[in-house]
């Protein structure tokens, strides 16, 4: 049975095109089912159809119908091992915009579970999910943050460990600050206060995070109440100075300044127990972690290659499985026929002994040919061996 992949991704298609062919989980599964034995993986970065025994032209036509235009030169088509390697790389996050991102693994699982694929695609997707997990557990590719906002949250965790119960003061109601706050909240931190020049904007954001809105004039008063300060206003002058920070504190205070020009006086970093990261520091951290991801990606590629080899071996073994099954069935048939000849001439005990002994002889005789055929299948001689076995044991007549 042939294995093929037809699709497009962020590597070859602009967002205007991708958004036209992106499908939600249900419609994607419907499309796959309409084609036959297929799985449709559709995310914001890719729409791909994995096909078992289906003409790729049909799948290409289906995607072009979604796009509303011919996609010659945009759609890619991969076959057999290349299709398997591609899916393994996708599941490992190696084909993603940010190498190692973990969301794609869940999307691959959803696409697989939304349909009931045949044995080849079933094995391919189960193995792809295994590859994704292996890459995440055996490499550090997914451990480091890939954006300024997630780096800010990861740095806070380097100070406080678990962020549950840690209180955050968000200064400014801008988008970047909101993202940083969302990242901190996703790690368990509590967005306790949102401060802004216009309290109305602060109130809206505070409501979303379950915090309290305050004016910029209250900033200093709340510093003793929080563990993390995230600032991202467009104020021309620093809003906080060392003198605003309470002197007698028992816990560290972590400042994240994402604003340009900076909101927080750099001298705050000199205070004991205070840590201050500005936008340049955060970008340097992200650049460093992305470099680390690329190094880990090389190891991940090795894992993908190993798994691709395993998949190839499994597929090759499929060529000899029918021949092995026929051979065993023929042998069992002969054994049963010969045992039937002694029925009534031996006792029950003797009959059991004969059954046991003949079964053992059969298994021992067939063990080595079975192993050799499977080995030959992996080294691409499987079909030849299978034909030879069928010919030697007269199995053709049964096919």
């Amino acid at each position: 049975m042939t294995l093929a992949l037809v699709g497009l991704s962020h590597h070859v298609a602009p967002v205007e095109l991708r958004e036209r062919v992106t499908l939600a989980l249900g419609p994607a599964a419907d499309l796959a089912r309409s084609l036959g034995d297929a799985v449709c993986l559709s995310t914001c970065n890719r729409t791909e159809l994995y096909l078992a025994g289906i003409d790729p032209a049909r799948a290409a036509g289906a995607i072009e119908a979604l796009a509303g235009e011919p996609l010659e030169g945009v759609l890619y088509e991969l076959h057999e091992d290349a299709a398997a390697v591609h899916l393994f790389r996708v599941a490992a996050g190696l084909d993603s915009l940010v190498p190692g991102e973990g969301e794609i693994l869940g999307q691959v699982r959803d696409a697989y579970e939304a349909v009931a694929p045949g044995p080849v695609l079933d094995r391919l997707f189960r193995q792809a999910l295994g590859v994704g997990k292996r890459v995440r557990t055996e490499t550090a590719i997914g451990e480091s943050p890939a954006s300024v906002s997630s780096a800010a949250a990861a740095l806070a965790a380097q100070v406080f460990g678990d962020l549950h119960g840690r209180r955050v003061l968000l200064v400014g109601a801008g988008r970047i600050g909101e993202l940083a706050a969302a990242n901190l909240a996703s790690r368990g931190a509590e967005i306790a206060f949102v401060a802004n020049r216009t309290v109305e904007s602060a109130r809206e954001l505070a409501h979303r995070f379950g915090g309290r809105a305050i004016g910029l004039d209250e900033l200093g008063a709340q510093l003793g109440e929080v563990d993390v300060v995230v600032s991202s206003t467009s104020a021309p002058e620093p809003l906080l100075h060392p003198g605003d920070v309470p002197a007698r504190r028992r816990a560290p205070l972590f400042f994240i300044d994402i604003a340009v020009p900076r909101d927080l006086d750099p001298a705050i970093a000199e205070l004991g127990g205070c840590f201050l990261y500005d936008i340049d520091d955060l970008e340097a951290v992200v650049a460093e972690t992305l470099a680390g991801r690329r190094a880990e990606a090389e190891r991940a590629e090795q894992l993908v290659a190993e798994e691709a080899e395993r998949f190839r071996a499994w597929r090759a073994s499929l060529d000899v499985v029918p021949a092995i099954a026929s051979l065993r069935a023929r042998a069992e048939e002969i054994r049963s026929a010969e045992l039937a000849k002694v029925d009534g001439r031996v006792s029950d005990d003797e009959r059991r002994t004969l059954e046991s002994v003949t079964a053992q002889i059969l298994n021992k005789l067939l063990h080595l040919p079975t192993v050799r055929m499977k080995e030959a299948a992996v080294s691409a001689d499987g079909a030849m061996y299978a034909d030879a076995v069928r010919h030697l044991f007269g199995l053709e007549e049964e096919r």
Partner: protein, 253 residues
């Protein structure tokens, strides 16, 4: 037999000390610690079985036991893949002390010398266990200072080369001292009872050990935080080093 067990233990600890240098070999390092610890445990068990009295009565023997206690404490509290750099702080120290112990004769057949007194065995056991805890606390404090410095200087590789979070290191240091100080108190108590019984006066090691008790007692009483706590833990450990490596000979003589 004892000699034959020394090398696997050293090999395990040495492998761990080297393997902790790379994140890719952290798993191998953990196994090195475990296997080395098992070999050293067997070594100590053989020594205990062969000896008539307390088998680690020499300074080198007690150093051998001390290394085992340090690694045991590390296995219990700090041996986590994500705390790789803590292993990098503890295991080379363990290897160095283990080698010093061997050079001092720790793996020679144990004699029946001294330490027949139950009080004395308690004294040595508790004091060494406490010192092992203080050593681990010092390693944690040193890692704290390193992590704090990296955060202060905004090291770009801070998320690539991860250390345990500051508050975790601080909490672990405090908890380790909280467990170790009562052990030292019991050890000192047993030693003082023995001292009074034998009508001996305080020697230099005993005086330094009492001072150590005072420093760690102050640590728990004052509940310092941040850098101050780390420096105090390291200050106490400096006294432990003086007691273990500089003055031990006179006390054991």
């Amino acid at each position: 037999m004892v000699e034959a067990l020394f090398w696997p233990a050293l090999l395990g600890y040495g492998e761990a000390a080297l393997a902790y240098a790379s994140p890719r070999t952290t798993g191998a390092a953990t196994w090195g610690v475990r296997l080395g610890w098992l070999a050293q445990t067997a070594l100590l068990a053989v020594q205990a079985a062969d000896a008539d009295g307390f088998p680690w009565s020499t300074w080198a023997g007690s150093l051998n036991l001390f290394v085992w206690l340090v690694v045991s404490a590390y296995l219990i509290w700090g041996c986590r893949p994500r705390y790789r750099l803590l292993g990098l702080a503890v295991m080379p120290l363990a290897v160095a002390l283990f080698v010093v112990a061997r050079l001092g004769g720790a793996t020679e057949s144990a004699s029946a010398h001294g330490y027949g007194s139950f009080f004395l065995v308690l004294h040595v056991g508790f004091v060494l266990a406490a010192f092992a805890g203080f050593t681990l606390a010092a390693a944690l404090a040193a890692v704290y200072l390193w992590q704090e410095r990296r955060l202060k200087h905004r090291a770009a590789d801070i998320l690539r080369l991860r250390l345990p979070p500051l508050t975790v290191l601080e909490g672990l240091t405090r908890r380790t001292i909280l467990v170790s100080l009562p052990l030292l108190t019991l050890g000192l108590g047993a030693g003082l009872v023995r001292l009074r019984h034998d009508h001996h006066s305080l020697d230099a090691l005993e005086a330094v050990t009492l001072l150590t008790w005072g420093v760690y007692g102050a640590f728990l009483a004052m509940h310092p935080v941040g850098r101050r706590a780390a420096y105090l833990a390291l200050g106490g450990f400096a006294l432990v080093i003086v007691a273990r490596l500089v003055l031990a000979g006179s006390h054991f003589a």
